[in-house]
């Protein structure tokens, strides 16, 4: 192997190791930063949704207070047919007003024991379902029960799909976000494409999750599919690889040039030395600052 080749190999290997390490550290740091950034964003989303849903629930409850505390509810259970019909019409008017202010409400029902006394909206959930959330036909609902007295309740069905969608849209958040919640022991999800169903198997491993949020005994997470999380940095990785290849190419050229220059100088020196007569030596002054101390004789 020629000296030029040896120098070139040394330079290229050294540079390649340094470059690879640099790129690896940079990529790891970018990945780590992306995951931390996305997780923090999801936690902020989770806290945001917590207050959005909480505000919505308390707003609905306050709006329904006039109905809940009204004398009209009592007349629904009285024998006087005319008073009953007047009260029914007025309650329905009031419920319609509340529903027009809160588009996420699917239906409001007045129930007594297990029977439905009056309902406004499309009654999709009331089927003696006692849980907090309910999933049916690709839609999920949150049930809010407001007690009128020991027998009578106002049951408000809130569309989780709609409230989650309006939260994301109002705040201009990421459209790939999903809402995850438990119904019993099963984990369900709601996304902005109108899908809502049970998560199966290891699907949660494909998701980046926020911290757990909780509103009115509903535990939930905000999630984002990992492929979308890393989608943003694919371009960055591609550029990094291209940069890596380019730098390797440049390093190769520089190494070739350097190895050529260094080896030609060494060759010249070697040639000069070889041309010198072997007996002829000249004193070389060493100017490296090293001083030989005189030895002390005792």
């Amino acid at each position: 192997m020629t000296i030029r080749r040896k120098i070139f190999r040394t330079l290229i290997i050294t540079n390649a190791i340094i470059l690879t390490l640099t790129v690896a550290v940079a990529m790891f740091s970018t990945l780590n930063r992306t995951v931390r950034y996305e997780s923090e964003k999801l936690n902020i989303l989770s806290r945001g949704f917590e207050s959005f849903l909480g505000d919505s629930i308390s707003g609905i409850s306050n709006s329904l207070a006039a109905v809940k505390d009204s004398n009209d509810i009592q007349f629904l259970f009285q024998s006087d047919a005319y008073l009953k019909s007047l009260s029914e019409a007025s309650i329905k008017n009031s419920l319609r007003d509340v529903m027009s202010n809160y588009k996420e409400i699917e239906s409001i029902e007045i129930t007594s024991s297990s029977s439905n006394v009056l309902s406004q909206g499309s009654s999709v959930v009331f089927q003696a379902h006692e849980g907090k959330v309910y999933t049916q036909n690709n839609d999920s609902y949150l049930m809010l029960k407001i007690g009128v007295n020991s027998q009578v309740n106002l049951v408000v069905t809130i569309s989780l799909d709609r409230i989650f969608k309006s939260f994301i849209e109002e705040n201009n958040f990421d459209r790939y976000s999903q809402l995850l919640f438990y119904e019993g022991n099963d984990l369900y999800y709601v996304d902005l494409q109108g899908n809502s169903s049970k998560l199966v198997g290891n699907d949660t491993h494909k998701l980046l999750l926020s911290n757990e949020g909780n509103v009115d005994d509903l535990s939930f997470y905000i999630a984002k599919p990992k492929n979308y999380v890393f989608d943003d940095i694919n371009e960055y990785i591609f550029l990094m690889v291209m940069f890596f290849l380019l730098v390797i190419l440049i390093t190769n050229l520089v190494s070739q040039y350097l190895s050529k220059e260094i080896s030609s100088s060494i060759t010249k020196v070697a040639k000069l030395l070889s041309d010198l007569p072997r007996e002829h030596f000249e004193k070389i002054d060493v100017e490296d600052g090293f001083e030989v101390k005189p030895s002390h004789h005792l």
Binding site: V67, Q74, Y82, L86, V148
Partner: protein
């Protein structure tokens, strides 16, 4: 002489039995039971036992009074307002807990202890505009025979020199049918008073229902009942508007006591003073009316 005295005592005893002798405070404390007469007319103002949240302002005030005396309360239900004034009523009850408008005539029959300031308010359907008595001309005003509003309305119309005719009516099939006796067709320059017969079995919200059904244009109720119903009833808020006060004077609603129970009536006055100063009364008032007692007083005294 002895025979005359015995006869006199027997007559006195018979008289006393006829009007009914109420038990006084010591009897109630002795038996540890307060018998409360009240109408069960599904009214949040009076008594509405099926309503868990608001079983009745008068009922709860009477209950607070019984608690204050440390005695049990026993409810005696009455069918209508008139039966409070029947003979012997205070043989059955110690106190009448109801919205009894205090009038001189009634004060002759029983002790009435005021518990709330009260006025008479005219109401109509949404869109109706009556701001003075003159505006009642050509309109049908509904009143019930035996209720004080009838005489008060006539007095106010007489004072304002506004003509009126009184036609007796009877509710039937969601309508008010004229009774044939002395029917007078009302012109546009007079007020037509529709007088509901005394024998009609009155129910709460009757006046409002008649006005909503367009069987009458204007109704009259006491401000106390109106405040409770209007602020808490959706169909009233959506169909009815308050128009004006019938008169400027503020009157009172009271609980009734036997003339022979002065100590009990006095104790009720003491209880009211305590309840109003301690906030018990205001809390109860807010629960039923949704407004504070002081705001109510400001509204009716304006």
């Amino acid at each position: 002489m002895l025979r005359i005295s015995a006869t006199f005592c027997a007559i006195l005893l018979l008289l006393v039995c006829a009007v009914g002798v109420g038990r006084d405070l010591l009897d109630i404390l002795g038996t540890k039971e307060l018998r409360v007469g009240i109408r069960n007319i599904s009214s949040e103002v009076v008594y509405f036992p099926k309503n868990e949240n608001r079983p009745g302002f008068c009922f709860e005030l009477a209950k607070d009074f019984a608690d204050y005396l440390h005695v049990k309360m026993k409810i005696v239900e009455f069918d209508n307002l008139y039966s409070y004034f029947d003979d012997g009523v205070f043989d059955k009850v110690d106190i009448i807990a109801d919205v009894l408008t205090i009038t001189d005539a009634r004060k002759k029959v029983m002790n009435l202890v005021p518990f709330i300031e009260n006025g008479e308010i005219l109401f109509g359907r949404t869109g109706e505009s009556v701001s003075k008595l003159e505006d009642l001309k050509g309109k049908r005003v509904l009143v019930l025979e035996g209720f004080v509003f009838f005489n008060l309305l006539k007095t106010e119309l007489d004072n304002a020199k506004i003509g009126y005719v009184v036609n007796r009516v009877y509710p039937k099939d969601n309508d008010l049918k004229y009774l044939n006796d002395n029917y007078t067709k009302a012109s546009k320059n007079v007020v037509e008073i529709l007088l509901v017969s005394k024998d009609f079995e009155y129910y709460d919200y009757f006046d409002y229902v008649q006005v909503i059904q367009k069987n009458a244009d204007v109704g009259i109720v006491d401000t106390f009942s109106f405040a409770q119903k209007y602020f808490n009833t959706l169909f009233l808020k959506q169909n009815i508007v308050p128009l004006m006060m019938l008169r400027k004077d503020v009157g009172y609603l009271g609980f009734g006591f036997s003339k022979s129970s002065p100590l009990l009536a006095k104790e009720f006055e003491r209880f009211l003073t305590y309840a109003k100063s301690s906030g018990i009364f205001n809390t109860l008032f807010k629960k039923y009316m949704t407004i504070y007692y002081s705001d109510y007083l400001n509204a009716i005294e304006k």
